[in-house]
């Protein structure tokens, strides 16, 4: 029964969506009255982010960043006041379509901002493809969103998983490493990061000797650490996050591998865990689109304003949320807040040059940031920037036909 109802909804909505779209183009033709009306109403922004569970901290950082961008524009975007709608997605992929529908159907939001978990991102994609609602994803790096599942209304202000490890190939080559082993969880993000690294390293003539996978979300690494010791590669590249990353770094040290085989990784390996791992992280080098000590004017101003507003230090997630706000502002400014001019908003967002705390970036054809990847090194409790590992790295966006 419920299932029938749902598919019925979807169909009705699809029809509704297409008539609304036709209506919007018509309204565009009768510009004066249409615009006056649009500007009186508040802009409806829907935040679909995790506010409970493991990723709650990330959801809060993204929200803070986004609101800071809005606040810098006098609390308005494209000259319009904002009405906020919030849904806690709990990082639960099973509830993703239902949660996205709450914003799209019940609240009729103009823009959806979300989310952290890649599985939830793919669940949202189904709903937002049908509704055509403008969507900015401030984190989840699933390759498909800006790959085979890309769409004109899908935007991302963070990274693709592939991007976070691709530049490491060059880094390892420069250090003289010829062989490497990649270790990660066996799930989509891990495999995409492995692929990104493999392509980058093999282009440089390196050899990925072995891909090691731990079942997700297990954190027992001993067997594979022994395997690494027996393979004796020149370098190890890893991706884990959160508690798993903390445990991996400590186990790597306890197994006596630290200092014998240098460890590299996707930046998430050493983000947010350095307090927990003591000196086990020291010297680990990673690539990511943000780092400590960038020391640019924009980054300093952002960090200061963020710390002042929210009484905590910003991280990469706060930057991604902030940039989602900046990207949306660029789109809405161009059409003076008339979000019904969907094509105009999308065109302006596509052309935007975002002056981000991480440095300037633009969007690729598939709507993923083309951005500098920094090489960072763990020094004390910071991921200190060492330089740019890859200037303006673009995701290959395989299978995107939009």
């Amino acid at each position: 029964m419920e299932k029938n109802e749902k598919s019925g909804y979807a169909r009705r909505d699809f029809l509704l969506g297409s008539t609304a779209f036709a209506g919007a183009t018509l309204a565009g033709a009768m510009l004066p009255t249409g615009m006056a009306l649009a500007q009186q109403a508040k802009l409806k922004i829907g935040l679909m982010l995790p506010y409970t569970g493991t990723y709650a901290g990330l959801g809060v950082a993204i929200t803070n960043g986004f609101k800071l961008a809005v606040e810098e524009r006098g609390g308005k975007l494209g000259g319009r006041e904002i009405e906020w709608f919030t849904v806690d997605d709990e990082s639960n992929p099973a509830k993703a379509p239902e949660n996205a529908n709450k914003l799209v159907q019940r609240d009729k939001v103009d823009v959806v901002i979300g989310t952290v978990h890649s599985g939830v991102v793919m669940g949202m994609a189904k709903v937002l493809r049908e509704s055509g609602t403008l969507w900015i994803n401030p984190n989840g790096g699933a390759g498909a969103m800006t790959g085979e599942a890309c769409a004109p209304n899908f935007f991302r202000t963070s990274f693709s998983n592939w991007q976070t490890t691709h530049a490491l190939g060059k880094v390892l080559k420069a250090k003289g490493h010829k062989t490497a082993v990649f270790i990660t969880w066996k799930y989509a993000a891990g495999e995409e990061m492995m692929q990104g690294f493999k392509e980058g390293f093999e282009t440089e003539g390196g050899k990925l000797t072995k891909e090691l996978y731990v079942p997700f979300p297990q954190v027992e690494f001993q067997a594979l650490l022994t395997e690494i010791a027996s393979i004796k590669p020149d370098a190890v590249v890893a991706f884990f996050a959160g508690g798993g990353a903390a445990k991996f770094l400590k186990d790597y040290q306890a197994a006596g591998l630290k200092g014998k085989i240098p460890l590299y990784g996707s930046g998430f390996l050493t983000d947010g865990v350095l307090e927990a791992v003591g000196d086990a992280g020291e010297g680990v080098e990673t690539t990511l689109h943000y780092a400590d000590g960038l020391d640019t004017k924009k980054d300093k101003a952002f960090r200061l304003a963020y710390a002042k507003d929210f009484k905590m230090q910003p991280d990469v997630y706060a930057v991604q949320g902030y940039d989602a706000g900046q990207l949306l502002a660029a789109g809405l400014d161009a059409v003076k807040g008339n979000v019904a001019d969907r094509a105009g908003v999308i065109k302006a967002m596509e052309a935007a040059k975002i002056d981000s705390p991480r440095g300037q970036w633009t969007l690729s054809k598939a709507h993923n940031p083309v951005q500098d990847m920094y090489l960072r090194k763990v020094v004390g409790k910071e991921n200190k920037v060492q330089g740019v590992a890859w200037k303006a790295l673009a995701d290959p966006a395989r299978g995107c036909k939009a």
């Binding site: 409970t52 569970g53 493991t54 709650a56 901290g57 066996k186 891909e211 090691l212 996978y213 731990v214 079942p215 997700f216 979300p217 297990q218 954190v219 027992e220 001993q222 067997a223 594979l224 650490l225 022994t226 395997e227 010791a229 027996s230 004796k232 959160g242 508690g243 990353a245 903390a246 445990k247 400590k250 186990d251 306890a254 197994a255 006596g256 591998l257 014998k260 085989i261 947010g272 865990v273 307090e275 927990a276 791992v277 003591g278």
Partner: protein
């Protein structure tokens, strides 16, 4: 894989198996012997780990933290038994599932309020913070070996308690016929309170001594919960011996699985469970 590495993997497997037994021991007692389905087992494991972290940063010593935390978890266990579980012994298992699932949510939320959502590390005690070199580039952390020792002691202690003591006899009798035991003049209520509290304390203790290895992070309990049930089910409900055998089997299976069949490593545990249950539906050492 040459012979030296084969031996090291064997050691890894045994060590991991013992660790699994440690984590599952509380569940063996509460689910296996008392017959209570406790989905919140992982939550108590998490509570133990967070207590170890916060108390060891207060006192500066993990040993002191554990000594302080154990009485706290025993009291917590007794209070929960008195207030909640006691009322459900006579009811269908579904009520227990509902209650303990609710407890998972409550503990997870309390953890977030009291301790926050960050990842924390617990320092390995200085005395055990060393590694034994095995090959030119691999060494074995002494703390892991120490945990294995604790696991063996615990297993022996539990076996002795349940099979060889008067209290153990009463527990087993109570599990098979509560009313009869009561009418023989034994204070079964008190015994249940004690055993339940012991089960909770064991789960928390596992979290405490495992904290330096695993780190302390949100939802860490749900990671161990499923594997704990697998251990108890494969081993045979009510059998400490069985739980030990199952733990070692899973430890070795996972370790060699990850090395030899990496693509199927995630399935191995469940394949093992399926095979055992087809062959012996009551588990390895369970009573039919």
């Amino acid at each position: 894989m040459d012979f030296a590495f084969f031996l090291i993997q064997l050691l890894n497997g045994l060590q991991y198996g013992l660790l699994l037994f440690l984590v599952a021991s509380g569940l063996t007692l509460v689910f296996g012997i008392m017959g209570i389905i406790n989905l919140a087992h992982g939550s108590f494991y998490m509570v133990g780990a967070y207590l170890a972290w916060s108390l060891s940063s207060l006192t500066g010593s993990l040993a002191a933290a554990i000594l302080l935390a154990i009485p706290l978890t025993v009291i917590l266990g007794m209070a929960l038994e008195r207030l909640l579980f006691r009322h459900l012994y006579q009811r269908d298992h579904l009520y227990q599932v509902l209650l303990t699932y609710g407890l998972i949510l409550v503990f997870e939320e309390l953890r977030s309020i009291i301790w926050g959502d960050d990842v924390h590390g617990v320092v390995v005690p200085a005395l055990l913070n060393a590694s034994i070199p095995l090959t030119d580039n691999l060494s074995y952390p002494v703390y892991r070996l120490a945990i294995s020792g604790v696991c063996l002691l615990l297993a022996a202690g539990l076996y002795f308690l349940i099979q060889k003591t008067r209290l153990g006899m009463m527990i087993r009798a109570g599990a098979s016929n509560r009313d009869m035991v009561q009418s023989l003049g034994i204070d079964i209520k008190l015994i249940y309170t004690l055993v339940f509290a012991l089960g909770i304390a064991l789960a928390a203790f596992a979290g405490m001594i495992n904290a330096p290895l695993s780190s302390v992070f949100p939802n860490m309990g749900s990671q161990v919960l499923i594997i704990c049930f697998v251990v108890v089910v494969i081993g045979g409900i009510g059998s400490v011996k069985g739980a030990m055998a199952a733990s070692l089997m899973i430890g070795l299976g996972e370790t060699f699985g990850q090395v030899l069949m990496p693509d199927f490593a995630g399935m191995i545990v469940y394949v093992l469970m399926a095979i055992v249950l087809v062959w012996r539906p009551e588990g390895l050492f369970g009573r039919a």
